[in-house]
């Protein structure tokens, strides 16, 4: 029962955070583009805007294309959302403050987050739309290419720690955050962020959405609450990956001050990673599908394998034994 209540609280906290992360991104993007961003819905600075957006989407007419594969089409947003929310289950926000601290936490995170492709493909296929279909094909292409480097770079801290347990990984960074590891840490973090961008379908790797080519990709036929679910899933995934990045490389909840400040530090670091991703998003142009695959297979994958091997050597040689 206690777990159910905890899960309920976590779910709502995640949804609340995700809603406000969109506002953060919009404000941040507005700053970059010399605009103000949301302002009038809830003074000061449009703090009610996410709520207004959610309400608007709930009230929208739900249009289902006549030729859509109804079951697949209707299930896709849910199939997309569930893994994106589920990955929060293993993230500890402070020692003991998390739903479950699995001893295979990182593996669970990586495995479940890769499942979102099922929802993506269902949406692209079920809409019976050419843009959506092309986008679904691109999605499969891209996720296959980028989940490997994503996993390999996420494994670098795992190898350095010797454990898949998330709390153990943070504990191992007590003296030195993994990003501060000479050379290895920084390279791994950069590779991780690049792979994250691709795994989250963010510009410059957002070929699935590609609104200037494929209009809106796999979600072109979705409206109202189904669109909102997809959007929610996407941002939840992004936030979860930011938390993972903060946890694997930036020392999680470690920080100055009393231990009670831990969750706050963790949140700040995750938001920092999130803003880094956002910064990249609003400054680059999208690259082409063949170039994306080229970057993955020719550069990122070999580099991440090398990093993994290097970290294994470090551990075996006992160089970085802290």
């Amino acid at each position: 029962m206690a777990t159910v209540i905890a899960a309920f609280i976590l779910l709502n906290a995640v949804i609340g955070m995700v809603t406000y992360v969109t506002l953060l991104e919009r404000k941040f993007a507005a700053r970059m583009q010399s605009r103000i961003g949301p302002y009038y819905v809830g003074r000061p600075h449009g703090w009610l805007q996410p709520i207004a957006d959610a309400l608007k989407l709930m009230m929208k007419e739900d249009v289902v294309p006549a030729t859509a594969d109804r079951w697949v089409y209707n299930l896709a947003p849910i199939a997309f959302l569930i893994p994106c929310i589920l990955i929060f289950a293993t993230i500890p926000f402070a020692p003991g403050l998390g739903l479950v601290d699995l001893n295979i936490g990182v593996l669970f995170f990586l495995a479940v987050s890769a499942l979102e492709i099922v929802g993506l493909f269902m949406g692209g296929w079920g809409s019976n739309n050419k843009y959506a279909l092309l986008s679904a094909m691109r999605a499969v292409n891209q996720i296959i290419s980028y989940d490997l480097p994503f996993i390999f770079t996420a494994l670098v801290p795992v190898v350095l720690t010797g454990s898949l347990k998330m709390s153990a990984i943070v504990a191992a960074q007590q003296h030195l955050w993994f990003i501060a590891y000479p050379v290895l840490g920084q390279l791994a973090f950069v590779a991780f962020v690049v792979a994250t961008l691709a795994a989250e379908n963010r510009v410059p790797f957002d070929i699935l959405e590609a609104e200037s080519e494929l209009v809106a990709g796999f979600r072109v036929e979705y409206s109202g609450m189904k669109f909102a679910l997809i959007q929610l899933g996407e941002y939840a995934h992004m936030l979860a990956t930011s938390f993972l990045g903060a946890l694997l490389f930036l020392g999680g909840w470690l920080g100055p001050g009393p231990a009670a400040l831990g969750p706050l530090w963790f949140l700040l670091k995750a938001l920092l990673v999130f803003l880094l991703v956002t910064w990249v998003r609003w400054s680059f142009v999208r690259i082409r599908v063949d170039q994306i695959l080229g970057i993955s297979w020719k550069l990122l994958l070999p580099a991440s394998v090398l990093l993994l091997l290097a970290s294994a050597f470090v551990v075996a040689g006992g160089i970085g034994a802290a």
Binding site: R35, L134, R138, P204, R281, W282, V285, R286, V289
Partner: protein
């Protein structure tokens, strides 16, 4: 990108029933207006493109026959509504040539300043929308777009001070221009162009150091100089393909021979070359604006008295063709007059129309993403294509 492998694929007809026909347009986020490209795809590769135009056809040439020489200049600006000043200029220049109407020096200079500021404004919009096409409305492209639109607004503010309008100006009239510079305009114009010049450096810094921008534009959509001449593209496209041709210098009009400016030429012929040409044109236009402001002669702004009725301007029987260098290339206007207050026949040569006709030659073999990059680099305005 004319990928040789893909070309082979097209020639072999590989794929057969695995092809997908996809409409891009008439309503599409990256169609600059209403343009329909029917793409035949093999996976991500475009093997054939069928361009459908005419969605914005408004019978401009017929309209010109029914409107008098006084009325039509304001309508002419609706052909190329992104660069309205040069479209007006092409029409009035043609009528003046038929009627052998002199234009005072001051009016000629004012026409040049309007045309060059218009080029800057038009290129601002081009750069923004092109990046929007490549980078997406939810990405870095939107950032560039919002920066460039900010600069375009400043130029439009100048036009508003000058003519009272921001999009369709009615600035030119037969025999001169309608408005003289208001007080303080020259100073504001100098400040604006100085600011834009600085901002152009910023765009270059943002885009040319950006590896993703380079891979999206370099080697993409190559127009060889032979193809450019065969199809008859003009403006930044032909100069990006290594042909040194600019109407302002090849056939000077409106006192362009008085000004010192450089015609940028790039030889690569790809999207990046066209981008480079336009970036240099930003600076050259600003240079011309400064020269005009420095050397602006005193005198009347029109050789004709102000009109009191729409049928007042008549030109003798005859015909003439004039061309001006618009932001998108050579805009031609052919007017046949029969002695009355309206032309007997009028024909436009739209720069965008000729430029757009190069697409079926360069798109096959590209990826879908390149189609939007190439279309953006051609910079079509569909008001001018369809007329």
């Amino acid at each position: 990108m004319p990928d040789p492998e893909a070309r082979k694929v097209i020639e072999l007809g590989y794929g057969g029933n695995e092809r997908l026909v996809m409409n891009m347009g008439p309503q599409h986020p990256s169609a600059h207006g209403v343009f329909r490209a029917i793409l035949t795809l093999e996976g991500e590769t475009v093997v054939a493109v069928d361009a459908v135009i005419g969605y914005l056809h408004r019978c401009h040439e017929k309209l010109a026959e029914t409107l008098t020489y006084v009325q039509y200049p304001s309508i002419a600006s609706k052909t190329d509504y992104v660069a309205a000043m040069t479209a007006e200029l092409a029409y009035v220049a043609a009528v003046e040539k038929v009627g052998k109407i002199e234009v005072p020096k001051r009016a000629q200079y004012l026409r040049v300043i309007a045309a060059e500021l218009q080029r800057v404004a038009s290129h601002c919009l081009w750069l923004g929308t092109w990046c929007l096409d490549m980078g997406g409305a939810l990405g870095g492209g939107a950032t560039v777009f919002l920066y460039t639109i900010r600069e375009r607004e400043m130029v439009l503010d100048l036009f508003e001070m000058l003519t009272g309008a921001r999009l369709l100006y009615g600035f030119h009239q037969i025999g001169g221009v309608r408005y003289d510079l208001p007080a303080g305009w020259a100073q504001k114009c100098r400040e604006t162009v100085a600011l834009i010049e600085k901002r152009v450096d910023e765009y270059e810094a943002m885009l040319e150091d950006n590896a993703f921008f380079l891979v999206r534009t370099q080697g993409v959509g190559v127009i060889s100089s032979a193809l450019a001449q065969d199809v008859g593209v003009a403006g930044p496209l032909i100069r990006g393909s290594g042909i040194d041709y600019d109407v302002r210098r090849a056939d000077p009009y409106s006192s362009y021979e008085d000004f010192d400016f450089k015609v940028p030429v790039e030889t690569a012929g790809d999207c990046y070359a066209r981008y480079r040409v336009r970036m240099v044109e930003f600076r050259e236009s600003i240079k011309i604006v400064r020269q005009v402001l420095d050397g602006l002669p005193e005198g009347p702004i029109s050789s004709r008295p102000g009109v009191k009725s729409v049928g007042q301007v008549r030109v003798p029987k005859g015909e003439a063709y004039t061309r001006v260098e618009g932001a998108r290339g050579e805009i031609g206007c052919h007017v046949i007059a029969d002695g009355g207050p309206k032309p007997y026949r009028m024909k436009w040569r739209g720069a965008s129309f000729s430029n757009l006709s190069v697409l079926p030659h360069i798109i096959p073999g590209c990826k879908i993403a390149d189609v939007v990059a190439i279309m953006g680099s051609v910079d079509p305005v569909f008001g001018e294509v369809d007329r």
